[in-house]
């Protein structure tokens, strides 16, 4: 997958820290913020390992709250 690169943007205020995107990512890109919380008090998701993202959109599909926008480019 070296010729494909992806990136995601998490709507951090909408995120409820449910962890489903983290579990669904095949490339271990995502994690929940270990200490930071959003205005609702949730440990929101973020790209901990952005270089590994392949833009597969698995995270976006499983997010119940529609917090994730996924981008993908072919190199």
């Amino acid at each position: 997958m070296a010729n494909i690169k992806g990136a995601v943007v998490v709507n951090k205020e909408r995120c409820k820290g449910c962890d489903l995107c983290v579990a669904a990512c095949p490339c271990q890109v995502l994690a929940l913020q270990p200490t930071e919380v959003n205005d609702k008090g949730y440990h929101y998701a973020f790209m901990q390992n952005p270089d590994a993202c392949i833009g597969c959109a698995s995270c976006g599909l499983v997010c119940p709250d529609g917090c994730i926008t996924v981008y993908k480019v072919k190199l």
Partner: protein
């Protein structure tokens, strides 16, 4: 490659559906309801029937569905969504009318409405969220609760001798002549979500084409009621719910 080179509108491959608005949804973190809401929004948008669609919302956790999807809605009394949908569709035969109902709503208080709407072959789609529990009211036993499954009203687990068997609605309405499409799906993995979306699309197309009643059961999680994390609830559902509620089409005519 710089991340800002990737994050550009022309490279976007997935985002929140257009018909889902920005109101924060009241569902618990990780609840299946949100995933199904997104699929319904996507299907309506892709079919171009935003102005033709009327949803009937239930009593249950999805009682506020109308706050999240920007289409026309009617809020039904508990269990009565298929009766309202029947009337709306008969008065507006060109509209796409669907109900969205939990298992307490559809399979307990609304059993009669469900079965008779299916038996009349009403040209509606029924989206049935089976999470095996009354989520909204604090996790009481539903007709769909699994044998041995603990809820607040069967704290030692559902006892068949006392409470009867888990009710399999899809198998019931499959036998009823008015249904054209009965399927059981889930939304716990990207692959299952893509399949469930196709099922919802077919049900909506059937409703528009006047083929009869379609019922799409989505075996779902209620992580709060089940007292598990969302990730654990998905696993528990696979290991326990799918044996009683197997995935796939039961009828497609």
């Amino acid at each position: 490659m710089d991340i800002n080179e990737i994050i550009k509108p022309e490279n976007m491959v997935y985002t929140k559906p257009r018909l889902m608005n920005d109101n924060p949804m009241h569902y618990c973190p990780g609840c299946s309801h949100g995933v199904v809401h997104k699929l319904i929004a996507e299907v309506i948008d892709e079919m171009g029937i935003e102005e033709e669609t009327i949803g009937i919302a239930p009593v249950g956790c999805a009682v506020f569905a109308y706050n999240y999807l920007d289409i026309d809605w009617i809020e039904a009394a508990h269990g009565r969504a298929p009766a309202i949908a029947s009337a709306v569709k008969r008065l507006n035969p060109k509209k796409m009318v669907f109900t969205y109902q939990g298992d307490g709503d559809l399979a307990a208080i609304g059993t009669a409405e469900t079965i008779h709407a299916c038996n009349r072959g009403e040209n509606i789609a029924i989206i049935f969220i089976n999470n095996g529990i009354y989520g909204m009211t604090g996790g009481q036993m539903a007709p769909t609760t699994l044998e041995g499954m603990k809820t607040s009203t069967c704290p030692y687990g559902r006892n068949v001798a006392l409470n009867g068997y888990p009710l399999r609605i899809a198998e019931l309405v499959e036998r009823v002549d008015g249904t054209c499409y009965v399927t059981r799906q889930s939304v716990h993995t990207p692959a299952s979500i893509r399949k469930a979306k196709k099922a919802i699309r077919l049900a909506f197309e059937n409703a528009m084409a006047g083929k009869g009643t379609s019922l799409v059961e989505i075996v779902s999680t209620c992580n709060s009621g089940w007292k598990m994390s969302p990730v654990k609830a998905n696993k528990w559902m696979e290991e326990n719910m799918f044996a009683k509620y197997p995935m796939g089409d039961l009828k497609n005519v």
